[in-house]
Each structure stands twice: as C-alpha cells, then as structure tokens.
Subunit: 332 residues, 2 copies
DNA sequence: TTGTAGGCGTTATCAA
DNA sequence: TTGATAACGCCTACAA
C-alpha cells in the first residue's frame, strides 16, 4: 500500500506537506500541490481511513443494523435511511447483528440505527451514549443515548378490528407471530380489547401460532382446517403468514373471502395484487425519520424521548367482504 | 472513550500487559488477567477497531456494494453472500456506490463484491489487486485482482425464444432495458439471432424501450397500443417492465395471454402469482458463489478468470399460451 | 511474568 | 511555505 510517506519521498517534501496538500490546506504552494496530486494519481495512492479515524475520532458515517434479508419491506426502510443520510452528507454502512458490535464504535461510525431483533438490548445500552447515539426501531428503551422509534400497533389494530366488526364479522381468529415480541403482543392486545368491548372473544382453537414466515402461516391454516368450526376471518400478525394461509385455504377449496376472510399486517408488495386488506406501515418515512433523529442527536440537537409513528389500514376487497351481513355470515 | 491505557492505569499494569491479556497471550498471570477482564467489563472498554487494523492491516471483513434498494431480488444475493461469509468466519459490510471508495481499503475490508452499475469500472480497476480482490457481478473486467461473475444471458434467452417459437409465436416485440447495459444487449442479440435463424425479425415499431422500471413498461405498452398491428408476444428485458405492461394491457381491455402474451426476466416474487413466464436467475447461489470466489482469492487460492453462470426459463401459463397454433395466432 | 519502546498512517502543532 | 515532532490506540519485539 502506498502511504503518504512514499508520496512525500517521491515529491521530495515532508509527509506533513503531502497531508496538507491533500486536505486542501492553504499553506502549500501551487507548484508543490500540483506535483503531489500528480504523484498520488500516478502511484495510485489510497488514503487509509483507519488512520484518519484514529487521530480525528470523527467519522460522519452512520451504521444501519439489520439481518432479516427475507423481509422485503426492509428495503424501503434502507431507502429512507439512505436518502436522508445522503441529504445530510453522511455515509451509510449496513451490517448484520452478528458483526455490528465491532462497527458500533466512534472510530468507524458516529451513530447507529438498529432494526434487528437479534441485537441484544444490553449491547445497545452498552454502546449508546450522548457521543454515540443509537436509534432503535420497534424496541422500547429508556437510556441516555438511545432513542426508540415505535409503531403504534395498538391504535391501527383497533381500527382494523373495529372496521371488520362493522362489516359484520363476528367470529375472529388470530394468527400470532413470535409471541415474545412486543409487536405481536400489542397487535393481539388491541384485537382482544376491541372484541371484548363488543362482547366477543377469540375461541381458544382460533388462536393460531406462527413465526412470521409464509410457511408457518401455511401450516397454521392447515391445522385450523382440522377444527370443527372455522372462523369467519383470520387476522394475521403479518402479511407473509397471511400469504401462506391464503395458499392453504385455496388448496383446500375454500373461497376467499366468501368462505373465509384474511387480513395481514405490513402491506408488502404482493398484498396489493392479492387485494389483501392489511396495515400499511410507512417504512420509507420511518427510515428517513430515524436518520433525521440520529443525525440531530449526533450534532447535539436531539433528545432521547421515544417517538411513536402511525400506520394506517389499507382496506382492499380481495380477502375481506365489504359487508358480511351482521348475523348470517355464511350466506354469501 | 476508554482505551487500553486507562485500563492499564486502573489495573496498575502496563498497556502491553492489558493488550496481551485481551488477546489471550499466555504470558499473563491468571490473577492479572482476571483483574484486567473485570476492569474492562466495569469500565465498559470497547476496543478501537481502527487502530487494530492500522498495525495488522488485515480485517476479515468483506464489503458488498449495491444501491438499487428497489430491486427485491438483490435481497437474495445478500442472503447468499451473508450466509457464505458467516460460514467462513468473515464479517460483512454493505454500502452504496456513493461511499464505497472509502471502504474499499485493506484497513477496513479485505475484498469486495460489486453489484452496482453506478460504480465506475475505473474505480474497480484502481482498487483491485491480488491483495485486495474484487468480484464484480454482471460486469466483464479483465484485470489481475478483479474477477467477473457473469450471467449467461445469451443461452437462456435463446432457449426462451426457441420455446416461444415452438409454441407457435411468430410476431415478436422486444421491450429493451437501458440500452447501454451489457445485459440488455445480450438479451436482445440472442432474441434477434434465434428469430433470424427462423427467418423472422422484429418489426421496428415492435422494438420498445424502457429503463427497467415498472412505470417505463407501462408507458411502453401504452405506446405500443397506438400502433396499427400488435405483436403476438412482448418479450421484456426484465420483470418489472413486464408487470407495467401487463397492467397497461389489462386496462385497455386486452386479455393476457389470449390477445397478447408477455414474458419477463428475473423471476421476481410477483411473477409466480401472476403466472408470468420469465427467466429465473439463481440469485442466492450467485451471492454465495461470488463470496466463495472472493474468499478464495483473499487467501491466495483463487484465480481471476471470469465465471459464467446459467439461468433457466420458468415456463408459466398465466402470460403465455401453451400452444398458440402455428399459423393462426388469433384464433384462441 | 511484566514493562519499555517503536511503529502502523495520518493529522495537528509549532518551529524554521 | 515547509518540516520536525508528537499524538491517536493498539500490537509486538525485546528487555527486564
């Protein structure tokens, strides 16, 4: 590797002069500057970013941590992050939970956005500080240096269930995601509460379990089909599982939405083509906003109060009937 | 930031002893080692990766460069890269073209995989060397230090067109992507050659142009609909444009595939649901393979000969008729 | 078993 | 306008 020293030797000046020239300092003569630039070109000099970070300690690079490369909507989040990062003149680096610890360091990056359940809370708390702010998505944390951006699962899920109730649905099933996640808990709590307020509840055999994958939705549907009584509608904790269910129902000859209705959560790309009623999460905006907060914290103009953002119900007709008929759901 | 020095002071030993302890060197007594570890924990010591890379120069971190956060199938490539990277005990960093130059340096990463048209050939040639190998996807390069992994567009496109010919199609249109890209050129050349071998060619008004986006496909279809004579089939240079076309045709009341057939390229997720006949590219495998070659080059066991991989035609019935009828295509 | 000293590539300070 | 020197945090001979 060519270093500043070798350029200096070739240009017959001192290393500091080369450094000054390269950094556009005014105290270098035009003649010398030109000579140095020519030599850098010629010798293919590549500045060593590690040593640069050593002295200065500042990096102007943000880190985004995520691993779940299956979930397409994450791309929208990256897009939002990427766009705002560029806007403010920062660089973006992406890595997965496995290796993020190493890169969450002021000498490499100056802050991070975490969207990866596999990152331990403890690691975030350990790394976060006013000098190294961290934004965590979908993960409530109370810490000076860590700021949470949360989705208001509860409100939007309530809106969905209310809407379904008013369309005439009474017999609900819930397809849960990973039980331990806060998202899942909130989505379930909202649903249960709205139903309770209408004197309804979910039958135990209609409380289904998946792990957010399409396959688990397929399996849950197959199991549901064994039960004596089918629900009128299955509310899935995410789209992927809803897709799996729909496939399983269709395979069994059930018509959707006439025989059984399905809703999702996330509004992934195929949801629109399928006409799936689901929850549309403003992912691009989430990423954008997260980055905005992060940079503000970095430059000392942000606070560490949690922020909540809203989603909306995307009503579509492919998987939910407009009007079920309040008492006799099967007479379609 | 807590450094090794401060730990040393607190533990009342020298910095080198701390370094030795932390690196598991045998020349540290159990007592001292324990004291040091406890203090690191207590003081929340975070080793500075930049300085580590300074001396050794080796990083065991790979870089993947891509920006096109819209194209979903890139996720599959990352998945493949990520999986193999983990397998070999390396770390993975992802960045976009805009900032990659900075991170393509031995002090940060030890090699990169480039899948981003916006990265200039020149930059790759400048950075690549036996000590810093670069794998470029879909970009032919001849250079010691850079290895190309290319898709055999020509063969698979020939197979598609032959198959369509044998199904009875005669009047072909081609919806081109960005003209300057090699991918597009090869796809067109294969199509033209197969048609020529059967004494056919594409009418000038049936040579359509897009830029790989869904919207451009939609527009191209609208323009095509103005022409006096419609083709029997439009072969699109990618899926996204095919999706746009299909939407436009349907809006105009055309039935697909009865009135007009469509094929794509990429086999993106929605292609299956739509029944779109398209080219399925083994993206996960490409990523996996690219990483394998990269690491082999890094450890000095690879070569820099280009590699070609094969795609396959995914025949589906939603957008192409099984048998058009060799002479009278419209009598469906 | 521990400590000292030098170096990695760059930047900043200060002197020439 | 330039150059010498020290410093950033860590590692590694080598000396004690």
């Amino acid at each position: 590797m060519i270093t500043i020293k070798e350029i200096a030797k070739a240009a017959d000046v001192s290393p500091s002069t080369v450094s000054n020239a390269l950094n556009g300092k005014p105290n270098v003569s035009e003649k010398v500057r030109e000579r140095i630039f020519a030599l850098c070109e010629e010798m293919n000099y590549q500045p060593n970013p590690a040593s640069k970070g050593l002295k200065s300690g500042k990096s102007k690079t943000l880190l985004f941590v995520f691993s779940d490369f299956d979930r397409q909507f994450y791309l929208q989040i990256i897009k939002g992050i990427n766009q705002y990062t560029n806007l403010r003149g920062y660089d973006l680096l992406v890595c997965s939970a496995k290796t993020c610890s190493k890169f969450m360091h002021p000498s490499i990056t100056c802050g991070s956005i975490i969207l990866d359940r596999r990152v331990q809370d403890q690691l975030i708390l350990q790394k976060a500080s006013k000098d190294y702010p961290i934004i965590s998505l979908d993960r409530p944390l109370k810490h000076q240096g860590a700021k949470s951006i949360l989705l208001d699962n509860y409100s939007v899920m309530s809106e969905l269930i209310e809407g379904l109730y008013h369309r005439g649905y009474r017999k609900f099933a819930f397809l849960a995601g990973v039980e331990s996640t806060l998202d899942n808990q909130e989505r379930y709590a909202a649903m249960a509460e709205v139903l309770r307020s209408h004197g309804l509840k979910i039958a135990p055999e209609h409380h289904l379990h998946g792990d957010y994958t399409e396959q688990s939705g397929y399996q849950a549907a197959k199991i549901l089909l064994l039960s004596k009584q089918l629900p009128e509608i299955v509310v899935s904790a995410n789209d992927d599982m809803a897709f799996g269910m729909i496939e399983a129902f269709r395979e069994s000859g059930l018509r959707i939405p006439q025989d059984i209705a399905v809703t999702g959560f996330d509004d992934e790309k195929p949801a629109e083509a399928l006409g799936l009623t689901t929850i549309s999460v403003p992912n691009f905006e989430r990423g954008y906003l997260a980055t905005q907060h992060l940079i503000n914290c970095i430059i000392g103009e942000g606070d560490f109060e949690p922020v909540t953002i809203n989603a909306r119900v995307a009503w579509r007709n492919g998987t939910v009937l407009k009007q079920l008929g309040s008492r006799s759901p099967k007479d379609q």
